[in-house]
């Protein structure tokens, strides 16, 4: 939403909205946009490793059809995009970051959200690397190699939607879809310095995506601008009987409201749990955003530590249950970094699972009370900037902790009850980027997107320089 100089729609700096406008007004051909994206991907992949599958011929065919007027030139006309490889892509096995799934059936049709984006004129160019079976916050993968952080390729992209973060941050595509069960859109958005949206649980269809933890699985976009989040989110909204938890409510467009500013929004900072156990840059980012929003009030999301524990327990047990047949028959084909965690999850008591689900309802009720007093809550997205690839331990607030379990420390208590969150990225001079969570009550993505758009217009939040 910030005033930008005209951008070449063929450049890696172009946003999805800028490309769509140029294609819709015949300033550029969709075929040229797709060709430029494929060239960038070929040039960038050796260093970034964001893609596992490139569907060049399909993309070229689709682009030619868009140019020929065969498809309605929708709001995403000619926009190249890519999806985490747990989304079904017709004709390809749905890897979900694994080696095992490659031996499975090829997808008979595209995932629901891929179909929706293409119906809006976007063009799929490929499938993206991810942590195995989405049980990951790092973006590392033993089978396909790590997706690397374009800001510093010795560092993690974040996960599990690591390829989604890396591909957008490297300018390979302006828009990518990821999944977020405990933070897997928000962690890479923070570490790669991008805008990310984890919508309300059930608001976007998950049909045609490989599951991880049904109770928490969400899908959503990662992009270089708030406008692109809203544009793609609006195109993907709507009920879908193929996903049993998908909303029955009609779509509510967010894009027309992006420029409304923050007037009338009550904004507070999350205290207590969200104000300790992180590196100073995480808290500095929240303070910078709070100052720009003139937000001084602090609120407490009660029992957030127990919420994180409950999210962990449900994830461990549901994930292990899903993969138990494969753990029995093909343990050697798992990524070593997920295998033993899944095995451990299979041995945890069922009573913990039920207690965690009961607590979920209790916590939800208490957090919704907080949202009677405020519209937006700010919290760190990650407790630190991108760790080094291969790093297993890190210091948070002076305490040595495992990287894998703790990058999602601040995201888990939020997705646990399905609240919508936008990550606003802060580019730090001389340092790595870090994100801030803009959290709203269920079905109020609009407010979170308005706040992110305001921060972007003020120059506080931005994507990395192209």
């Amino acid at each position: 939403m910030s005033a930008r100089r005209p951008v070449d729609p063929l450049s890696k700096a172009a946003t999805a909205a800028e490309i769509a406008r140029a294609v819709s007004h015949d300033k550029v051909k969709a075929t040229a946009v797709v060709e430029a994206a494929l060239e960038r991907i070929a040039a960038t992949e050796p260093t970034v490793n964001a893609f596992t599958d490139i569907v060049a011929e399909r993309a070229r065919k689709r682009a030619a059809e868009v140019d020929a007027g065969k498809h309605h030139r929708g709001p995403l006309a000619g926009v190249p995009f890519a999806v985490k490889n747990l989304f079904d892509i017709e004709g390809l096995p749905t890897r979900a970051g694994s080696k095992i799934n490659v031996d499975g059936p090829r997808a008979a049709r595209d995932a629901a959200l891929v179909r929706k984006l293409e119906a809006a004129g976007a063009i799929l160019v490929g499938g993206l690397n991810m942590g195995e079976y989405a049980y990951d916050f790092t973006g590392e993968n033993a089978h396909y190699g790590p997706s690397r952080n374009p800001r510093d390729t010795t560092r993690m992209s974040g996960g599990s939607s690591g390829g989604s973060g890396a591909a957008v941050a490297a300018g390979e595509v302006p828009l990518a879809l990821g999944s977020d069960t405990n933070g897997s859109i928000r962690v890479p958005s923070s570490l790669c310095g991008l805008f990310g949206l984890k919508p309300t649980y059930g608001r976007l269809s998950r049909a045609g995506s490989f599951p991880f933890v049904d109770a928490f699985d969400h899908l959503g976009p990662i992009a270089r601008s708030t406008e692109d989040l809203a544009l793609s989110f609006d195109a993907m909204q709507g009920p879908d009987p193929d996903d049993p938890v998908c909303t029955h409510l009609p779509p509510e467009p967010t894009l027309p409201h992006l420029g409304e500013g923050i007037g009338g929004l009550r904004i507070a900072i999350a205290g207590d749990y969200f104000a300790r156990g992180a590196e100073p840059e995480a808290f500095a980012a929240v303070a910078t955003v709070a100052e720009a929003l003139d937000a001084a009030k602090t609120v407490v999301l009660p029992q957030a530590a127990a919420a994180r524990a409950a999210a962990y327990v449900i994830t461990a047990i549901e994930g292990a249950q899903l993969h138990l047949p494969r753990l029995r028959t093909r343990p050697q084909d798992f990524d070593p970094d997920t295998r033993e965690r899944f095995m451990a999850g299979a041995l945890l008591p069922g009573a913990w699972y039920v207690k965690a689900q009961r607590f979920r309802r209790h916590y939800r009720a208490n957090v919704l009370k907080v949202f009677e007093e405020v519209d937006i809550v700010l919290a760190p997205a990650t407790p630190c900037t991108a760790p080094r690839l291969g790093q297993t331990m890190m210091k948070l607030g002076g305490v040595e902790l495992p990287v894998r379990a703790n990058l999602g420390l601040f995201t888990q208590p939020i997705s646990f009850i399905g609240l919508p969150v936008v990550v606003a990225p802060l580019q730090r001079r001389g340092g790595l980027p870090i994100g801030v969570q803009i959290i709203a009550k269920p079905y109020n993505e609009r407010a979170a997107l308005r706040v992110a758009a305001f921060l972007e217009a003020q120059g506080v939040a931005s994507a990395p320089p192209a």
Partner: protein, 62 residues
């Protein structure tokens, strides 16, 4: 009390047998480590008291 500390290695060995999950010797130490981490991470949840009337939020719609 040292006696209260669970024998996680035994839990892993016997639990895996009970559910028919073979754990190769080279995976065993890490499985034990991850169960120990789970015990630690789950603690804040296990310490919460919930009313008997509090049931899980239903999502299944027949």
């Amino acid at each position: 009390m040292a006696d209260d500390k669970p024998d996680v290695a035994r839990l892993v060995d016997e639990g895996a047998k009970a559910i028919g999950l073979p754990i190769a010797p080279e995976y065993r130490a890490n499985v034990i480590l991850n169960v120990e981490r789970s015990l630690m991470i789950a603690r804040p949840l296990l310490e919460v008291d919930l009313d008997d009337e509090l049931t899980p939020g239903p999502v299944f719609r027949p």
